[in-house]
């Protein structure tokens, strides 16, 4: 369990992005470790402890969401996916060069932009680009096919790009531009 505790910061960071709330994140991390302890005889030494813990974290959170508001959860929601799909044309209006544009964005803006993403996309992008999970590890943690993971990362990055671009270029541009529905998701 000591080894598991070394992963606490990453789990907590992910929990904050999931819950958007420090206290709830703390509670989620505690529950995750409690469940991990109880299920530790199912963990195979030598396999990926980090992925195993994130699986528990994700499932615990998803369960809570479902228990509390059985309707609002964005996971596995085709509706959300479709809603996002309709905004495709808006994303590609951003100013280039892209990297230069986003290079100066503030950390706080990135967090705020991440928080505007639907849960499923936020989690996929976070696990891939910040926590450095492989696609397969994300698929395992979220219990979805790997193709779905790639799709969510793709759409999540697209939405994040739109949100960050809007922040960088200011509200005037957003209002007058053709960025459409993506900013509202």
């Amino acid at each position: 369990m000591d080894e598991a505790l070394t992963l606490m910061n990453g789990l907590y960071g992910t929990a904050v992005r999931l819950t958007r709330d420090g206290d709830a994140a703390r509670d989620l991390v505690q529950d995750t470790y409690l469940k991990a302890l109880r299920a530790q005889d199912t963990f195979e030494p030598g396999t990926n402890l980090k992925a195993w813990l994130y699986t528990i974290l994700h499932n615990t959170w998803r369960n809570r969401q479902r228990d509390r508001a059985r309707a609002r959860v964005a996971f596995d929601s085709d509706t959300v996916a479709e809603a996002v799909e309709t905004g495709r044309s808006g994303v590609v209006e951003a100013v280039t060069p892209e990297t230069a544009l986003l290079g100066s964005v503030l950390d706080a803006d990135i967090k705020a932009a991440l928080d505007t993403l639907p849960d499923a996309f936020r989690e996929a992008v976070w696990l891939r680009d910040v926590e450095d999970f492989t696609y397969q590890e994300i698929a395992d943690a979220l219990s979805v096919p790997i193709g779905t993971v790639m799709s969510r990362i793709s759409r999540g990055r697209r939405l994040l790009h739109a949100a960050l671009s809007a922040r960088q270029t200011g509200p005037e541009r957003t209002r007058s531009g053709r960025t459409g529905t993506t900013g509202d998701v």
């Binding site: 990453g10 703390r26 005889d41 228990d67 590609v92 892209e98 790639m150 793709s154 990055r157 790009h161």
Partner: protein, 254 residues
């Protein structure tokens, strides 16, 4: 060989899911060639790829700043909480009064498990904790009675699992089914059926395998019983004062 030419929109949809591995440099050569060829002729997807590259670059470069530092006392709090199962009730004030005696039972069970790899008694003990946490502590004040059929179909719709609930107990039964939840146990998800039997909180955990053997334990102030029927294992958890629980929920003793 028949060649299929998708429309541009279909093509873009398919390419979208391939963009992450392409952008991350993880696409196998064939996929890479397909995506590259598409990007050559599709300006929208080309810009989408560039956007993805930029977003990933900024996230990767800011990893350190984006990670939230856990509260200073969380690690210590976890260390105190994550003691062996035997001592866990000590951090759960509402069950601590009954836990001291039970702890000995569980500690012995735990030792047995580490020696043999499995134990129905530990299964029962751990699910007793889940019963306390998810039912007794979290409460069920807002849960109306549901029929087993309605619970099953709703569970199947929400979680994709067909649950073999104990046979319906019929009108006038002592047992009222008031909820069916999903519970993470061991290697996967199981169903947790919440009942009121003689107005007392009673849980039936439904495990879709018959690996366990029959067992009865008393732990954390609750009595738990493992019953195997056909290819399903049921774990009943109830206060000691509730008699004939198995019969009440429809799992008559054989």
């Amino acid at each position: 060989m028949t060649l299929h030419f998708p429309t541009q929109a279909q093509d873009c949809r398919q390419i979208e899911a391939l963009l992450p591995p392409f952008v991350d440099g993880l696409a196998p050569p064939e996929t890479r060639a397909i995506v590259a060829a598409h990007l050559e002729r599709c300006a929208d997807c080309r810009r989408a790829a560039e956007s993805q590259r930029a977003v990933r670059a900024v996230l990767v470069s800011r990893r350190g700043a984006l990670e939230e530092a856990a509260p200073a006392d969380l690690a210590e709090s976890l260390r105190r909480s994550l003691v062996p199962v035997a001592a866990m009730p000590a951090v759960r004030p509402r069950v601590s009064a009954v836990a001291a005696a039970a702890a000995v039972v569980i500690a012995m069970t735990g030792a047995f498990v580490w020696a043999t790899g499995r134990s129905s008694a530990l299964l029962a003990a751990q699910l007793t904790l889940d019963h306390l946490k998810c039912f007794v502590l979290d409460g069920d004040d807002e849960l109306p009675e549901v029929t087993p059929d309605a619970a099953r179909s709703s569970f199947k719709r929400d979680y994709g699992m067909d649950v073999r609930l104990p046979p319906s107990t019929g009108t006038g039964s002592r047992a009222r089914l008031i909820g069916l939840r999903q519970c993470l146990y061991g290697e996967g998800w199981i169903a947790h059926a919440l009942y009121r039997v003689d107005h007392q909180a009673v849980s039936v955990f439904v495990i879709p395998s018959a690996d366990a053997s029959a067992a009865q334990i008393q732990a954390f102030g609750r009595r738990a019983e493992v019953i195997v029927r056909d290819d399903t294992t049921y774990v009943l958890v109830a206060p000691p004062g509730v008699t004939e629980v198995a019969a009440a929920v429809g799992l008559e003793a054989e």
